[in-house]
Amino acid sequence: MSSLAVRKTRPAAGTTPGTAQGPPPSRRTALVPTITLLLGAAYCLLPVAWVVVAATKSGSELFSTFTFLPGTGFTDNVSDLSTYRDGVYWQWMANSALYAGLGALLSTAVSALSGYALATYRFRGRETLFNVLLAGVLMPPVILAVPQYLLLAEANLTDSYLAVLLPQILSPYGVYLARIYASAAVPADVVEAGRMDGASEWRIFTRVALPMMVPGLVTVFLFQFVAVWNNFLLPYIMLSDDEKFPITLGLYTLLEQGANTPALYTLVITGAFLAVLPLVVLFLVVQRFWSLDLLSGAVKS
């Protein structure tokens, strides 16, 4: 959780624990690390900065003016995009929000149940079950998606919202994170005390354990939200009706059509800009709640 925290090893003499403001002026800045990191940041921000500027350009400005010179066509681009095929772009956005929001919620619920069970109970087959569930991480998605498609076709479920939602609910990584977090955050004696009071196992889970697991589950939710929002392959295989496309697949089809018609470039670019926006905003807002430490499996008990 300490994404904005400061190292504990800073020498005490004359320093304030500098947070976002950096160290006090009396100490010299270490130039090499600072410049290296600034270069890295510039590299990472370059395409984002480019799309922000390019989305403001009209079709002719895109090819005639200097790349990083803002244009005058942003509002026109947005309204062009909104009217493209009766506003299908916003349908894609809504679909992505649905797939990622609902999918991540269900996934978090399943992960919480499984992680809690694997962390608190001792039962036959526990480790085997855990390892089998984890092995799912290693399965290349295409290898699952092709037979998943064929099986869902048997059930007449392809080209539906369910075809994209259902296969992504079980997240092996989510189960793994939830287990690690539950074993660190839910003490065994608290569970035992609940049993002494005569509470049912379900009640102990919902009333006692779940609140303790919330910070970890936020991470699981965000991780899964990003994973579903960014998923391209599964909808690419499952869907053919573009009313059901998520934004990744929609943008891809737009690019496919637009690649040979430079007139469509502005639509693709504006679409890419607007597609990046919600996730970047979400990211900036929640990154302080997002315990990145957990991603590497490190939990301080």
Partner: protein
């Protein structure tokens, strides 16, 4: 769901974990085990056409033995795809992890400024879908709209075609490196921050330079994270699909079978040969699993040693 089973205490406690795990187990069976089993089944079968292939019963699914597998292993397209991905992986994995380690060490060094901003900026690409990342870089590689070409043109320097031949590998690798460095940096940085301060104090008293501390203390101590990131990077590299698929509309140099997974997709949906596709998929899955278990075994041994301390 367990309210009824939990009424009788001892039985409830015993059955509760299975009830809690029921959704995960059901989903696993339906969406992991069943598809894998089905794919293996398909990989041993083929469609036999009798006569002109017209009418009912003219196309029959029959047992194929290992034929699909021998076909896949001798398929030059699949082999070429594997070689392309190998070349791509040889660029992506070392450069990405090298940069991630470098940035993590820099973030962890003393008197460094602007770290909240730079750390977030380097991590930001993680939030951007691979398709959108490929699309953004794809435009940056296009001479008509790219700032790189603008600068090259003004300086009258040669303008290489980034979407063809050798540079194409670099262009694709760059997208993966851009997207993955931040995540790996955070994993390594987290491990660095977990090192107790006393470890450095002793080294500093002995007059060790920051570089020596980094090389002799920090890097060995974060070795488990490096193994973990290496492992995940290899898996991700073997599965490359989105980026080359997205660049495909922008150039003629990315064939539909550029990577093995693209070849599987092409055979299954482009050519409608699900049997050949299943056999190829099984081979790729086997290679992935073999690599993964080799790695996990090595990592586990290390973890056990640490847990035993």
């Amino acid at each position: 769901m367990t309210s009824t089973t939990a009424r009788r205490r001892p039985y409830g406690v015993r059955s509760a974990p299975y009830a809690f795990l029921l959704p995960a187990i059901t989903l696993f069976l339906l969406f992991f085990a069943l598809p894998i089993g089905y794919a293996v089944h398909l990989s041993f079968r083929k469609v036999e056409v009798s006569g002109l292939g017209l009418g009912a019963g003219a196309r029959q699914e029959v047992w194929a033995g290992l034929q699909n597998y021998t076909d896949a292993l001798t398929d030059s397209e699949l082999l070429n795809g594997a070689l392309r991905v190998l070349g791509y992986g040889c660029i992506v994995v070392p450069v990405m992890l090298g940069l991630a380690l470098l940035f993590a060490l820099m973030l962890d060094s003393e008197k460094v400024r602007f770290t909240p901003v730079t750390r977030l900026a380097i991590f930001l690409p993680y939030a951007i879908p691979g398709v959108v990342a490929a699309l953004l870089w794809g435009f940056l590689y296009l001479p008509d709209v790219s700032p790189f070409y603008f600068v090259l043109e003004r300086l009258a320097l040669p303008q290489p075609d980034l979407l063809d031949g050798g540079p194409l590998y670099l262009a694709l690798s760059n997208i993966a490196i851009w997207g993955g460095t931040g995540f790996n940096m955070i994993v390594i940085y987290t491990a660095l921050r977990a090192i107790p301060a006393e470890v450095y104090e002793a080294a500093k008293l002995d007059g060790a330079s920051p570089l020596q501390i980094a090389l002799r203390i920090k890097i060995p101590m974060v070795a488990p994270s490096l193994v973990l990131t290496f492992f995940f990077s290899i898996i991700a590299t073997l599965q490359v699909f989105n980026e080359p698929t997205t660049l495909k509309p922008l150039t003629n140099s990315v064939p539909t079978t550029w990577s093995p997974l693209m070849k599987v997709y092409q055979d299954a949906f482009g050519n409608g040969d699900i049997h050949a596709a299943s056999a190829q998929a099984a081979i790729i899955a086997f290679v992935t699993l073999a690599l993964s278990f080799g790695f996990l075994r090595a990592a586990n041994r290390r973890n056990k040693q640490e847990a035993a301390r």
